[in-house]
């Protein structure tokens, strides 16, 4: 079995070593499988470990690479897949009891792309039920139970890509796929001390993935570095006629000519979040200082006034009611784990068509308004989340509380903007902090470039959680 020093390598490093035949895809897969089967249950990280499929794919990759047929940067590299994406013949539970025994007879587009790239599927990864589509109030709202944070197992990984965060952080696989409707990838990325990229809306096909809110859902790579996220996006991105919101063209990476011209212009958001954890603001500022010392221009920026958070929340609730209409009308939503998820859809069913259209018309203004900020900045920077990880037993029921108006995940998700979080320090409880970069819609290269520049001058991403 390969040791931790290999299992914590980046996707790029693993790919390079496999291409040079210094690492065997089969041995690498067996090592990740063994670690996944040992640590995965402790972390509630997986829904299904796909051992047979993984070994079959690894053997095929090994034979092809040995024969000189190298498919690209993910060839022979294992990965985990959030359990809301269809893999033919394997359970796809959406993290929810009503779908505990459901399988699809086809592959999602993203799985087909990864198969063509020669990637190795280690397992379907745990998640919050329905990715939180009908609401949830605790970490336990999952068919697989609460995912535990490898940095301290009393703490949560965040959701809804809860297992994806745990898998990458604990090196059960070098990368995993998450999804993000509003913060479901950026938050687990920040709390688990890894890189997590939410691509621009439409960049990655969602055909074969569970829908919550069609106008906001994205599929997202989570890995050890920003560079790895770019590599994965170059494989999974690109137009797909099966997804009506898919944007034209491929996503090339690396593509220096598509990155922002130097110096990189960074806007430090001064009015994001209602409250930040002590120390987090300092960590973000220290990260920006490093970027400044390495050629970036950093200046203050402010999110304009507007009901961003309300429009984001309403869009999700309104579209989710339609996505899960069968579940609501049949009453099977009462089989969900979370008390809020059982009833929330009924309240959402009472929104009017006029309300929905008003929300979407206001959204158009908000999109234009936030887009204008990027005339002055290549990326906006702020904390990945407002705090370090919270305790698993902490219930966060904000369904009836006040709503923040400047939470970056709501604003950027609503407007389809790319965002990438990478680790930038630790709390006093030794839990990771993240700094996120938000880019103009379709400018995924800018957020990758900013985070990559930071990681090339910092080593937070090389820290390992105390889990064995």
């Amino acid at each position: 079995m390969l040791g931790e020093d290999v299992l914590y390598l980046s996707v790029r490093e693993l790919g390079d070593q496999m291409r040079a035949r210094k690492i065997s895809p089969v041995e690498l897969t067996e090592s990740y499988l063994a670690r996944s089967e040992s640590l995965g249950p402790k972390l509630n990280a997986y829904a299904t470990i796909t051992r047979e499929l993984a070994l079959k794919q690894a053997r095929a990759a090994e034979a092809e690479i040995a024969a000189g047929h190298y498919r690209g940067p993910l060839h022979g590299v294992p990965y985990g897949l959030k359990d809301l994406i269809a893999v033919e013949g394997y359970p796809t539970t959406w993290g929810a009891k009503p779908f505990a025994n459901r399988t699809f007879d086809y592959n999602a587009t993203i799985v087909e792309k990864l198969n063509r790239a020669g990637a190795v599927l280690i397992g379907k990864v745990a998640m919050i039920e329905l990715a939180g589509g009908l609401g949830y109030s605790s970490a336990h709202a999952s068919l697989q139970g609460a995912s535990k944070n490898p940095w301290n197992m009393k703490y949560w990984t965040c959701g809804s890509s809860s297992g994806s965060g745990a898998v990458v952080s604990a090196a059960l696989a070098p990368w995993a796929l998450g999804s993000d409707t509003r913060g479901s990838t950026i938050c687990p990325g920040a709390w688990c001390g890894i890189a997590a990229l939410r691509p621009s809306f439409g960049r990655v096909s969602r055909y074969g993935a569970m829908a919550i809110a069609w106008s906001m859902d994205k599929l997202c790579p989570m890995a050890r570095t920003a560079d790895d996220c770019g590599l994965v996006l170059s494989v999974i991105g690109g137009h797909d006629p099966k997804d009506i919101d898919s944007v034209p063209g491929d996503f090339r990476y690396p593509a220096p000519e598509l990155e922002p011209k130097k110096p990189l212009r960074i806007g430090r958001l001064t009015n994001a979040w209602n409250k930040l954890d002590p120390g987090l603001d300092d960590s973000v500022n220290a990260a920006l200082k490093i970027l400044e010392q390495n050629g970036a221009h950093v200046s203050d920026a402010a999110i304009p006034d507007g009901p961003y958070e309300q429009v984001a929340e309403l869009t999700i609730q309104m579209e989710a009611v339609s996505s899960f209409q069968d579940l609501i009308e049949s009453g099977r939503c009462f089989e969900l784990e979370d008390p809020l998820g059982k009833i929330n859809g009924y309240a959402g069913s009472e929104f009017s068509v006029t309300d929905y259209l008003q929300v979407q018309r206001v959204r158009t203004f908000l999109q234009k308004q936030i887009d204008r900020l990027f005339e002055h900045y290549d990326v906006l920077a702020t904390a990945g989340e407002s705090s370090a990880a919270s305790l698993i037993e902490e219930v966060d029921d904000d369904s009836e509380g006040p709503i923040g108006t400047r939470e970056p995940d709501g604003i950027s998700s609503l407007c389809g903007l790319p965002a990438l979080t990478v680790p930038c320090g630790f709390s006093k409880d030794k839990l990771p902090f993240g700094v996120q970069f938000i880019g103009r819609a379709q400018n995924d290269h800018a957020v990758i470039a900013a985070a990559r520049l930071y990681q090339s001058h910092s080593d937070w991403h090389e820290k390992r959680p105390p889990i064995t």
Partner: protein, 145 residues
């Protein structure tokens, strides 16, 4: 609340109803208020399954009074609440019913600043019909090419 923007292409100024109350109620407003009033007046006793002396049991199911909402918003909440109970009432426990009503109240709070946001006749929604499909790819997919 929204601030007026210096950029004419940005946020539209709000319709500041509190400063300039409309002299007469519009047909649309009247219809809406009438519908809400009608729904509220028939809903509580009839739709909560109580016909006589409804106040105590209705209040039990509704829970605590809703704070921070206008009377019209409360009426809207109760009309929707009654509609849910009419369709699915037997699915909920008493506690769930109370929570449901609080969620409906939260929807009102979320919608308030959005409803206040002035939009003009031609302002389109963010979701639009796409009239250009990738027909070639779809054809290939369908024909198994």
């Amino acid at each position: 609340m929204l601030k007026s923007s210096t950029d004419s292409c940005a946020l539209r100024p709000e319709s500041n109803a509190s400063e300039q109350p409309p002299p007469t109620i519009s047909r649309r407003q009247f219809s809406r208020k009438a519908a809400l009033a009608a729904a509220a007046s028939i809903s509580a006793p009839a739709l909560l399954g109580t016909t006589a002396a409804p106040s105590a049991s209705v209040q039990d199911q509704k829970g605590e009074p809703l704070k921070g909402l206008t009377p019209q918003q409360v009426a809207d909440v109760d009309a929707k609440f009654a509609n849910i109970l009419r369709k699915y009432g037997d699915r909920f426990s008493d506690d769930q019913k109370k929570r449901l009503r609080r969620i409906l109240a939260q929807h009102q709070r979320l919608m308030a600043p959005v409803r206040e946001f002035a939009v003009q006749n031609g302002d389109p929604p963010a979701s639009v019909l796409r009239v250009s499909f990738d027909r070639q790819s779809e054809h290939k997919e369908g024909s198994g090419d």
